[in-house]
Symmetry: C2
Subunit: 881 residues, 2 copies
């Protein structure tokens, strides 16, 4: 094979570049790229990924000719560094690191300080004038090499180290002096001999060769194989091996190490940001034993080096057209850049940097939009805990809905509503919430529950309301009778006490903490405008009251994609609703529905007025009727008295409506078919509201949505019902309203027979929550016992209730879209439900050719940005298949 | 248009034949066919179905030239009958009947006695010498014609008739004398004039023309259109119109009417079977006012006519190669065959006739197999109530599992087991049953419940056991404390009293009724052998104990397709099972599982021995754990004491396991993944049993089935677990057992990702019960509130839990089969669950290319026959697409 195995990088003729990721791996390509830019990186060479695959083909043997190339490149490094590998006087040391085309963080092996032995250690001591440093380097080398290249378990080295510390009565490694470390090196070397039956390899060339092999071998360790399987990465791309000269920042006061960002990663302001230590290695900067200094101070110690860093940063930023996060080492007055990478940043900084860079001419608007991750901006939309505040965290639960909230603890929904009416700020604390708590949840500043996961009722509703929420906080025990809760068994908080909850971290904090308000105008608005110019997928919001509708409009929603009507039946309306449910006759139900009609008509009018000229998808009653009945004995007794029934009759009624699997029960259009008077009332309320407003000069675009359709016959019946009522009302009101009737696609059967369903539908809206439940056979309420385990152990890559499962649910949706548009080419198709605000799911919706996504109002900006990203990825041809 | 509109039939040159169903409709083609055979049918003619469509194209007008053809054919009839249409002396009368290519029973209109008016009635009186008969015919004519051709509501005629009867103080129409009928005719004619504003048409030709139009019009009535939609019949095939001369069997003692079968429809014995009346019309034979005589007696009255009938029957049977059910009329010594059709017959007769006809050389074996409907033979497999017994039916419920059973009433499962152990025959009577009742159900003769539908627990389990069962018998109220039940609020039955239940009709009968045992050898066995020679689809049974396995083998099962393991954990094992569930640690669970291991191993051994050399698919634990815990307070207290827990702890445990939607909860392989020790124990039990038996010289073919797989990762994990345990056990026992590991496909996601799932599966088995629940989003336990309504109102054509929904669930299965075999071309695929014994579902499975169906042991013969039918239909090219 005449191919080239090894690529050099350094001042003296770099052979690779950034485009060669496939051949050199990510790290190798980047080192080459920096060298090409004239930046001083410690010189070295990369053994290609092709060699890795050849190595395995040959049965874990290096291909012929490789070693010669390695030696030749090593000599070039020696020349450039003015030191020699294995030289006891002036030893050159190498690091050996993996580097595949795709980063597999922590999965593969590294060995540092290759080249150390009992001879070269003397040279290192001399060069560094630091015996302790040298022996520390040595013992680290023996540990790493022993573990990685010789298969001696890491824990055995640790044990010896611990024993030594015990002997000396010290706690930290740093307290071990040079002598102790030297002793340890001897023990380590003996350990290796004992375990492997062979002496520790002293020959630096043998060390290097074994180090390279070890990195190759780490490509096929079980954990690496599993990682690739979980991330759908191919097995045959192999890893490169980067052999790079070691440099040391702890060679005296003319040396040092640091980390620097080209812009402030917290604010995005353009100035060098970072820290450094004189006479220290890079790891000391982050270890926190010595306090590093701000990078600005480097100007005083080494003005020239500072200028170099500033200039390199500038060049790298221009080259990579993004903020750089650089690690540097100064060895004996010479600056080496060890690594540069795109700088991580806060959401606020990301927005500012993206907009600034457009203004600086570094990137265009399309690129700016890609620079801010949709998930990130979620943090910008909510108040947050003041980062400078002192916090007394008393418990931690699951972060269910972002933002922070401060208020008085209250344990029930009614009281929350009462206090909120008196302008009190309240945190509603409950074991778990149910539909009856909606009013209180809405009136609260935030919600804290002790049970349930991030898809529990409390979490879902809170996200919909954009309300801060912490759930499943099992460290808290609520004692409602005593009016208190206990955190971690010690802190007792009484009703009325102030707490602060952080829905972004899950923290529960004692007292009132200062909150920071979000900033949504300025550069944020500019960036969102650019995103809107790019995207084609429309974004609507889920809202069922005027307040949410207003928030949705403010956040840029282009309509309401899901207006649930069941929330409208709680609060003051619950009585009439219960009367309806408890009636045994159609007549009785109709009487109760007549009471609900004007209320519901009023609800619709308010929302229509807020959203006017934008479409509003109204879903007719969906949940099973038993959700509206009280479950507790006292409440049942109360209601029974009110209704003139005996408690026994009431219980029998409730029992009769009980369902083994309510998710799969008598709900959705099944209710509308068996009790058509309910949907008739709802349709009447919609069209009376619409007609009255149109007569007043408003524009109203209602889209009536039928839930839980499984068979076209169900849709045909309910659609005919809605059309009939619409015509009646329009005739009564002498006005015409344009409207659509469509259906949720939330049952697998609806998707599978979408060609037939589309005959009766003027639009589809995927209800991906239920579709996921049915496709997986997975109840959101019950998944807590195994779903977190599944995600943690990699059975599932994502929680399918957070991100649409592309293989299962996504395939179902694809079938639904294809069959639906087979019947109606231009069928309008959207998605409503939690997934509509998840960026990966938005991307999938774009790929499936949907017209819009709908999500909670507070997720609308996220969805807008995600939709723009999907469009940009598509244009770039990088949407996953 | 030069086409022919009208086809004549009669002695004088019949123009059609049986092949012309499309053009002449079914009835017309049959009349022509009989005429061709030289059988004397009342002559007449058929207006083609094409004319019908032309009629509608012309805007409900007869095409030009039709009337001329009608007149010409009418003249031929007059010639043949020696009477004239409209002749006051010797009037010919016509019937006008519809007849489409496909029978649409009761959907379209008929008019009899066309040609009557105030003149021709005199001729009819003279000819019949029976004034009452003539006026009765007249008033029937006016009623039918008024209703069908003139649109006067039928009820208006009825009202006048009732009034007349009141006037005369009589109850039945038959008590009206000639004078009264004559008065009524006058009233009817006046009614028509009043309602239509025109005189009743007197002109026979006008009557005929209007009658033909009326039959055409009935093709497009809403009920006919709905019928076609529901039965997927095309709208554009139209109906023919048959105009046939009327003959009368009540013209004196030389006339008569009767009905005759060519073989005994109850037993299948070859002899004329039927009855007749002298001087009577056909309707009198069935009306029951005069008692008809046995057909054999006709030999004495009219020996020649009897011989003619015998000979015609023989000819028709040979011609149609099937039993004929003929209606005949003798008018004045002349025999007319009015109709012949395939004779309905009992299951027993069907089997005998099919086998006899092969022996007679009339049909071949393949045809014989098609002559017995799979559903029919179900009745042959169970004891039945003696048809001659006097029954005191005290209540009626839903027929849930066929057959009949006699026994003493007992209200709980334990007592049932006790009494059964003493050889008592017991009927278990409960409000509803649960998993805890399995032992008692098995020990009983039959089961009666007062709640639940035909897919309730009791029904499903009883069918699985082949045990007679009546469910949802709401006419019975059980009072367990008093040890009695009350039927229809009056009959009180005490525990220990005998009752008989009929699972084929749903009847509950007081006392001990004589039962008739089924006959499964002889001709039944011959027919089943022929079916087996034809079919390619294999049939297995669902069985989880040696008794069921034995029944399955006896009924011809070719293996066990579903051996549930959860039933094995009840009875004596429930204690250890509960101990396992209540343990908080893996260790505790393992200890409890160790107790279960030998029991489960024993279970498997017994089944392996019964089924040896046939494959056995064993499903690992599927239901959620809470199903094994007691729900009542007393039982919880008892268990708590036993386990050394407090009642509160016990309640908390039970509460903790409670699920909102157990169907979608922590069950199936989700249990096996979170508690791998459970599946490990089960795998160990299977392979220990298998290895021990193989060492004893048996052949054992275990197929381990993983339930509720949604993602291939779940199957990979559990399969590796099973393989590991299998290898361990085989190494311990020093023997090799061939086995497979496969999965249920019961979640939509498994079907949608079947290509991936197949990578880890050695077989698939569709769990169509759950697959239907998920695809429809429909809980079998909760569907009672709307599913019956859906089926009744035509929203769904079939109950999807009885017959696989071909469009939804069938499509899901097709995807599963195609994707699965994309990965593994020869993947073995079956179906287990209730549908496996439903003939239409068996046909679907055949179409989908499945290898086998599995059903309850008692349905195996049904499935075998259905599988043969599917193969025959396929060969004939008549499987529906």
């Amino acid at each position: 094979m005449g191919q080239k195995y090894v690529y050099y990088f350094g001042a003296d003729g770099t052979e690779g570049n950034a485009q060669m990721r496939g051949l050199l791996g990510g790290k190798g390509a980047n080192l080459a790229e920096m060298s090409n830019l004239g930046i001083s990186v410690p010189p070295g060479f990369t053994v290609t990924t092709e060699v890795c695959m050849e190595y395995f083909r040959l049965g874990r043997k290096m291909p012929q000719g490789l070693w010669e190339e390695v030696r030749a490149n090593m000599n070039r490094v020696e020349e450039e560094m003015g030191a020699r590998f294995g030289d006891p006087e002036n030893p050159l040391l190498f690091s050996v690191r993996s580097g595949a085309r795709v980063s597999m963080p922590g999965m593969m092996d590294t060995v540092l300080n290759i080249g150390l032995n009992d001879h070269t250690i003397q040279g290192l001591i001399k060069k560094s004038d630091n015996q302790r440093f040298a022996y520390d380097a040595y013992r680290r080398f023996v540990t790493m090499f022993g573990d990685v290249a010789l298969g001696v378990e890491h824990s055995l080295f640790e044990e010896l180290l611990e024993k030594k510390k015990e002997e000396l009565g010290v706690k930290n490694d740093t307290e071990l002096d040079a002598q102790a470390l030297q002793d340890i090196v001897v023990q380590f070397i003996n350990l290796v001999k004992e375990k492997t039956g062979k002496p520790f390899p002293e020959d630096p060339m043998e060390q290097l060769s074994m180090g390279i092999n070890a990195v190759f071998n780490s490509w096929n360790t079980p954990r690496a194989v599993t990682y690739r399987r979980l991330h759908s990465l191919p097995d045959d791309i192999g890893t490169g091996v980067n052999v790079q000269s070691m440099v040391f920042g702890n060679m005296g006061d003319n040396s040092g190490s640091g980390v620097v960002f080209t812009r402030d990663p917290a604010t995005g302001v353009k100035k060098l940001y970072g820290e450094f230590l004189i006479n220290a290695q890079g790891e000391d900067v982050v270890a926190g034993i010595r306090t590093p200094e701000e990078i600005a101070n480097l100007k005083e110690y080494m003005p020239d080096i500072y200028r170099q860093i500033d200039s390199i940063g500038d060049n790298l930023e221009k080259h990579y057209r993004d903020v750089q996060d650089m690690e540097f080492t100064i060895q004996d007055g010479k600056l080496y850049i060890l690594q540069t990478r795109t700088g991580a940043r806060t959401a606020a900084a990301a927005v500012r940097i993206a907009v600034d860079m457009v203004n600086e001419g570094l990137i265009d608007r399309r690129e700016a939009v890609t620079r801010v991750q949709p998930e990130q901006i979620n943090h910008l939309l909510f108040p947050t805990v003041d980062p400078d505040a002192d916090l007394e965290v008393i418990a931690k639960g699951l972060a269910a809905s972002p933002g922070a909230a401060v208020g008085k603890v209250v344990f029930n929904a009614e009281k929350t509503e009462e206090l909120a009416a008196e302008k009190e700020k309240v945190i509603l604390v409950r074991t778990e919430t149910s539909a009856e708590d909606i009013g209180g949840m809405n009136a609260s500043q935030g919600i804290l529950t002790t049970r349930g996961g991030i898809t529990s009722h409390a979490a879902v509703v809170a996200r919909g309301m954009g309300k801060c929420c912490v759930v499943g906080c099992e460290e808290i025990k609520v004692n409602e009778e005593r009016g208190e809760f206990t955190a971690r068994g010690k802190v007792v908080v009484n009703e009325g006490d102030h707490i602060t909850i952080n829905g972004t971290t899950g923290e529960v904090i004692l007292g009132q903490v200062n909150l920071v308000r979000p900033e949504l105008s300025g550069k944020f608005a500019i960036l969102m405008k650019w995103a809107d110019e790019i995207r084609t997928l429309k974004v609507r919001a889920n809202a069922d009251n005027p307040h949410d509708a207003e928030v949705a409009r403010d956040f840029g929603a282009e309509g309401i994609g899901l207006c649930r009507t069941e929330h409208m039946f709680f609060g003051g309306r619950i009585k009439a609703m219960r009367e309806m449910i408890l009636s045994d006759t159609t007549e009785g139900r109709k009487r109760a529905l007549e009471k609900l009609l004007p209320m519901q008509r009023g609800d619709f009018k308010e929302i229509f007025i807020v959203m006017q000229d934008l479409p509003i998808t109204i879903r007719l009653l969906d949940p099973p009727l038993h959700e509206f009945l009280p479950q507790g004995k006292n409440e049942q007794q109360e209601l029974a008295t009110e209704m003139g029934m005996s408690l026994e009759e009431m219980k029998a009624k409730v029992e009769n409506l009980r369902e083994a699997n309510p998710m799969l029960g008598h709900r959705g259009c099944r209710l509308g078919i068996t009790y058509p008077e309910i949907y008739e009332m709802q349709a009447r309320a919609i069209f009376e509201a619409a007609c009255e407003l149109v007569n007043e000069g408003f524009t109203v675009i209602p889209e009536v949505m039928i839930p839980l359709v499984g068979h076209v016959n169900e849709l045909r019946f309910t659609r005919e019902l809605v059309n009939r009522v619409a015509e009646e009302v329009m005739a009564e009101k002498k006005v015409n309203v344009k409207y659509l009737v469509g259906t949720m696609i939330e049952l697998p059967r609806a998707a599978l027979t979408a060609d037939k369903v589309a005959e009766e539908a003027e639009f589809f809206s995927f209800g991906t929550n239920d579709l996921t439940q049915m496709t997986y056979g997975l109840s959101r309420d019950d998944a807590g016992k195994f779903l977190p385990y599944y995600v943690e152990k990699g059975f599932l890559q994502n929680d399918p209730f957070v991100t649409i499962d592309p293989d299962g649910v996504g395939t179902m949706m694809r079938i639904g879209v294809e069959k639906g548009r087979m019947t109606k080419k231009d069928l309008k198709i959207g998605i409503c439900g939690e997934h509509g605000g998840d960026p990966k799911s938005v991307e999938l919706c774009y790929q499936l050719g949907l017209d819009y996504v709908s999500c909670s109002p507070y997720r609308v900006p996220v969805a807008r940005l995600a939709a723009a990203h999907a469009g940009l990825k598509d244009a770039a041809g990088i949407l996953r298949e």
